[in-house]
């Protein structure tokens, strides 16, 4: 992890409005993230967590403010930035008959980085296999993705994001379909990568994981960040069980 605090993501006064809506889904957001941070984003349904993640990787255009990622203006370098961010979307489900294998999908994570015309090499395939092995899904590599269980599909999407070797990892409820053991495994993988400097933002309702691992927590409500607390403050916040039942449940 870098000792000097190097800013990797800076959000200044950003509001995002969905098309056809009048009310912004997130309002006047300010957030600065340093290289190697692990940030939990929490808040009730509809608070704007997914909107925030998709604003960060430029999938949703913001109407106000500025976003800088890797020191670049998101509005001008969206694609270049996206090719360096791993994103695991919320509730990603695939139809049973989709003609893609799990390996195909994991390998796709690398496509944006490879550039036009370039084909994935054997090296890239090995990389995809390694990540699948890490997540314990290498046996599923040749299975059609739609025929996997919800949790298995979720692991494939995590593998896709990791195979990309991203510099920022955005995870939107990555544990929602995982059994407790798988959840532990995914958390330990993420923590390990984070210890090696991977900046990570996790949206989750999983209080156990937050209490055990949280270094910085961002609490959202009604489109705004209502608290942005350090590890110690966060720990103190979570000692008030009434508070977290209020925020999450």
């Amino acid at each position: 992890m870098s000792i000097h605090k190097e800013v990797i993501l800076k959000i200044e006064n950003v509001s995002t409005v969905y098309e056809g809506e009048r009310k912004p889904a997130i309002k006047d957001i300010n957030l600065t993230v340093n290289v190697g941070e692990l940030i939990y984003i929490v808040g009730p349904n509809g608070a704007g967590k997914t909107t925030l993640l998709e604003t960060i990787n430029g999938l949703l255009p913001y109407i106000k403010g500025r976003v800088f990622v890797f020191g670049m203006d998101l509005q001008k370098n969206g694609r270049k930035i996206r090719s360096r961010i791993g994103y695991v979307p919320q509730d990603f489900m695939v139809e049973p008959d989709e003609p893609f294998t799990a390996l195909d999908v994991v390998l796709m994570g690398l496509y944006g980085k490879l550039g036009l015309i370039a084909k994935p090499t054997n090296n890239d395939v090995d990389k995809a296999y390694r990540v699948m092995k890490l997540l314990g899904i290498e046996d599923l590599a040749k299975r059609p993705i739609g025929k996997l269980s919800g949790g298995q599909q979720q692991k494939v999407m995590i593998a896709r994001a990791l195979a990309k070797e991203p510099e920022i990892l955005l995870l939107d409820e990555p544990f929602s379909n995982l059994d407790p053991k798988s959840r532990e495994m995914v958390i330990s993988i993420i923590k390990n990568l984070n210890d090696h400097g991977l900046t990570t933002l996790i949206v989750t309702h999983d209080i156990k994981s937050i209490i055990e691992n949280c270094r910085r927590i961002v609490i959202m409500m009604d489109g705004r960040i209502i608290a942005d607390a350090s590890m110690n403050e966060a720990k103190r916040i979570f000692e008030y069980s009434t508070f977290h039942t209020h925020v999450y449940l």
Partner: protein, 271 residues
Amino acid sequence: MIPLDFPIIQRALIGSILAGLLTGLVGVFIIRMKLTSSSFCLSHAAFAGAALGITLSLNPLSMALIFSAIIASIIGPVADKAKLHADIIMSITFPLNMALAFIFITLAPSVSQLTGEFTTILWGSVLSMDINDIAILAIILLVTTIVFYLLWKEFFSIMFNKMMAEADGINTKFFVYLAIFIIGIVVTLSLKLVGGLLVFALLVNPASTAFQFLHELKKIVILSPLIGAATCAAGLILSLFLNWPVGACIVMISTLCFAISVFLSPKRKRG
């Protein structure tokens, strides 16, 4: 016996095989990218273009190509502007193309000339294929194959999930526009084989048949053109035997293949 040594029939057979390969290939992209309206929308754009060509005494095929290429190029941007799927924009453009065609026909100088040209465009006339038609088909097949081969990984990712492809830094809009443009060219060129009314079957059936047997898009994209070529050739031969219209025979064979594939499909079996 079929008189295969007759140059006309040889040309027709080669033309059918080329068009079958081409439509079979493009059909996979049409189905996966949910652009099925492109077949009737763009074939009628070609139809309107040809009508305009006849009215202005220009080459109908070139005008058909130009017209469908223009329509194909504006569908993607209009869809993005309207925030509707391109397929819906094409459904909206389809009657517009028909309307334009009717207007151009009304403006045409001689009705007798029109009838022949339009019968060709509507129903196709593979037996009137000349060496130029075949050369054009071969070139477009080559170019399309090269484009799809070189840009395969981007199309592959978009055909799985457009949002995720965009999240990986792929310019998904560009690829959707490109696909519609290629479809426009291919549809126009296959008009001579089966005509604007039957081209739908050529685009959709082989890919749908291939989907019944295979779980991997990488294999489907190879099998589908082969099915397309085989059904086109078989349809042509059937039409020569029975002296029935070629386009209709191709559609019958290709639909039959699809029907059989549904019964034989390993995807419908248990255990």
